[in-house]
Amino acid sequence: MRQPKIIVVGGGLAGLMATIRVAESGVPVDLFSIVPVKRSHSVCAQGGINAAKNQKGEGDTTAKHFDDTIYGGDFLANQPLVKRMCEAAPGIIDLLDRMGVMFNRTPEGLLDYRRFGGTLYHRTAFAGATTGQQLLYALDEQVRRHESEGKVKKFESSTFLSAVIDEGGVCRGICAMDLRTMEVKTFVADAVIFATGGIGAIFGRSTNSVVCTGSAQSALLQQGVDYANGEFIQVHPTAIPGEDKLRLMSESARGEGGRVWVPRNPAEKRAPKNIPEAERFYFLEEWYPKYGNLVPRDIATRAIHRIVYQEKLGIDGQPAVYLDVTHIPRETLDRKLEGILEIYEKFCGVDPREEPMKVFPAMHYTMGGIWVNAEDQATSVPGIYAAGECEYQYHGANRLGANSLVSCIFGGGLAGPAAVKYAKNLQAGAESTASSVFDREKKRQEEKNQALLTQDGSENPITIWRELGDIMTEHVTVTRINKNLEKADAQIRALQERYKKINLSDRTRWSNQTLNFARELENMIILARVVTVGALARNESRGAHYKPEFPERDDANWLKTTRAKWANNEVQLTYEPVDISLITPRPRRYDAAK
């Protein structure tokens, strides 16, 4: 029997879980990553991972986790696979526990759980406030073990450029560029799993890492892979503003009792500690008495925008509110939140144990992504699978905190075996594909590089990127207004034109980061259009997508999934029904118990 071969692109949680599952089944894996996989963006996840283990005697169940996730996502997610994920979550925690993750413990030696947004239960397992880092390391270690046994081969300084797709429209491998030699090469595989993360970089500054550009997703879109619900992105309510990055202050700060407030008096001059309780406006607690500071992120973000831009109550007239943990005992803070408090201290020079933090919302998570089917993470192109943040399946119109890590591991765990099964069932494996198919793709990519390296122009890629980020942040994040979205799309088109005149200030062929960035930028601009055009079309408000002109959710017209294609330099949208077979949509409100 022929031995199939699988490629995984992306080494965060989803990619590593897929890799482990494939390696376990005895099939060799090539793992591609821009950075050494231990440095992937999953390390930035802070607060925890959800699973209804009901270890606090609250009567939590996987059915309640399922309902919270669907409700939190404003009924846009297809339900059956979300249900399976919630049912699998307790087993995923067990697996991570067996892998040695240093989860926080109760005195009995069991895993401890905390509360997170959008639920009334203690459902979130955590390792300090660096849970993503700890989980990623656990999977990284397992992959390293498989690597040392020769089952996994890593390409850790390589970037994906394009899929190799044959005449029959079947994926037969990938084309990648070595980021040191800048050499373009093709690699044969029977199936390819993409786990390439979020798209934060198209918003300029976000909570995402540098590599989260969405470039791979965009390249696939341009090759005929469908992209779904692109207009749904999550703006996290609490981040530290910065020039290079907006650094996340985890929801766990509120899960552990942190409170959000502003002075009632906009002209307040006293230090926050000297402002008496009665003169503080705990607006989330007042507006949402049932969930308080733990309303879902879209709700908290809009509330903060309302406080700053409508009520004009931002601290010192600035776009900022207090996130206050000073009332929590220092010992508890150090045991449960140290990681994030250190970030605040290091980057702001203020000890958040002593003084309330100043925070503001920031682009954080990509709910939309590569379209995948309802069974096993297969995309619209045979041989291509997707898992993790780069696909759209699990979070609907808004993701609940601590659901991302579980969706990455569940999706990756599903994609691995599915890709193996597909590869084993192929009549003719990728090795029988004509070499001309690979040569053609390689030539196409080399020509792009050659053009970029030789053309003379007047545009700097970083300048174009900054402008793209400004357009997207201003018009396509929290509040979306149709005429502004139209303007934004026109501006992005203009950037597409200017991109043609790009000039690389580095033309060498060794570790040329400018060339790689220019390639990513072209893809970012195209994906930005998918987000913008999708937002423009959807005339309703649902989850994180908010249009004051259409303030209500409109199930009659918009309870449907957006599917985008790219053709003739245009975004083409079609829609398909959402699978709501398990929970009937009902109004979503957080001011009372649901």
């Binding site: 440095r39 963006h41 067990d94």
Partner: protein, 250 residues
Amino acid sequence: MADAKLVIVKVKRQTGPKEPARWEEFSLKWRPSMNVIICLRDIAENPVTRDGKKTTPISYDSNCLEEICGSCAMLINGKARMACSALVDQLEQPIRIEPLSKFPLVRDLTVDRQFMFESLKRVKAWIPIDGTYDLGEGPRVSPETQEQGYPLSNCISCGSCLEVCPQVNEHSQFMGAAIISQVRLFNLHPTGAMNKNERLAALMGPGGIQDCANAQNCVHACPKNIPLTESIAAVNREVWKQALLGWLVG
């Protein structure tokens, strides 16, 4: 109009591992909360030296920009540290930026730290689980063990501890403090402890723990405040115990 505040940055450049090194100086516009990453980005947007000469953007590694991915370690004013958390206002100018010197250079500030990941393989830094299928919960772990293990598990493989260690040089294969500390982490986990001896044995060979000369620079350089010298002492005791046992049993 008064001149905008300027930031002067000197960067050690090297186009490739076999090319000669040179210094370039840049004059940048100061901005609030500016860090070394912003300096490097500003140079990439306008790659012109202080004396007006056109140059290329600087090659460097970065990713998370919040000191948890371990990518952007470099020498800043002679000190091994993460560029993202190196705030310009806290640095003496001109700010001197160089690549880590203990790892093979790729280009400019980019180095190859693969050695650290290979070392993790050598010491089997993992819990050897049977498989990902459902085998129920893991072992119970006391809060005390968790509180000991969690800080060790914060190691971001940035390489700062190797950079400052006098024992890490071209004549040695010393794996360094980070790796020894990882052995301690896996050996204190109830399941990991079952393969304790394998990991200790890996530290007895060339590049192992006997190469440590107790300079204690590592613990001061670690950006994650990992108790590295404590780890070295603890693992050293275990290694001796095992060596002695091996000798007694013969």
